[in-house]
């Protein structure tokens, strides 16, 4: 079974709408990383969360890690076409040196 579940798999929203992407782990997370990827390109680092209850924001994107450190959400406010792409969460599960990734969420923002 997948250690890191990401939902939804895909999401289509109208420009200006808010949206949330979730990342859930079956294990306690030592760190949670959010990335954005355009098709055929590398991953762009967005944010890192390490502490339970932590919340970080960058422009219109907010990421939170729950108190139990097993679930994270990425929230985009007033979405724009530039937000379109694949969002991936990567987790440090205490295995040293490596991240486990979710399968990604494909976001489409219609103008």
């Amino acid at each position: 079974s997948q250690e890191l579940e990401q939902s939804p798999q895909s999401l289509i929203v109208q420009e200006g709408k808010n949206l949330t992407i979730n990342c859930t782990s079956s294990k306690t997370l030592y760190g949670l990383y959010w990335y954005k990827q355009k098709y055929g390109e590398g991953l762009i680092f967005l944010m890192m969360l390490q502490k339970g209850g932590e919340e970080k924001s960058h422009e219109k994107i907010t990421a939170k890690l729950d108190e139990k450190k097993q679930q994270s959400s990425l929230h985009i406010t007033a979405s724009q076409p530039s937000h379109a792409g694949i969002y991936l969460c990567g987790a440090d599960m205490g295995s040293n040196y490596k991240l486990t990734f979710g399968k990604g969420t494909l976001l489409t923002v219609n103008p």
Binding site: Y30, G31, G40, G42, L43, F45, L99, F101, K103
Partner: protein, 111 residues
Amino acid sequence: SQTIHQWPATLVQPVGSPLSLECTVEGTSNPNLYWYRQAAGRGLQLLFYSVGIGQISSEVPQNLSASRPQDRQFILSSKKLLLSDSGFYLCAWSVGGVGAFFGQGTRLTVV
């Protein structure tokens, strides 16, 4: 500032041919280096990671190998490519933690 270079961007190779993908990092010393493969619908799979020159850890048995001849150079190789080696290969680095910063990727098509 740190940068990561990965090349080539795209590659089409016949079955049975050798492979060499190169990745270099600038602006940092003694990074942890990673090779990931991304297949459609399957997320990112860690193939190899290295914490120092000549130190390679393999995550999955496969037709590929990795080498780290210099501190900031990481090479992914194969002696004979298989059709199943097709995919999007990403190099990444990190320092002092697990989080990773990614290169632009190489799209490998084995025909």
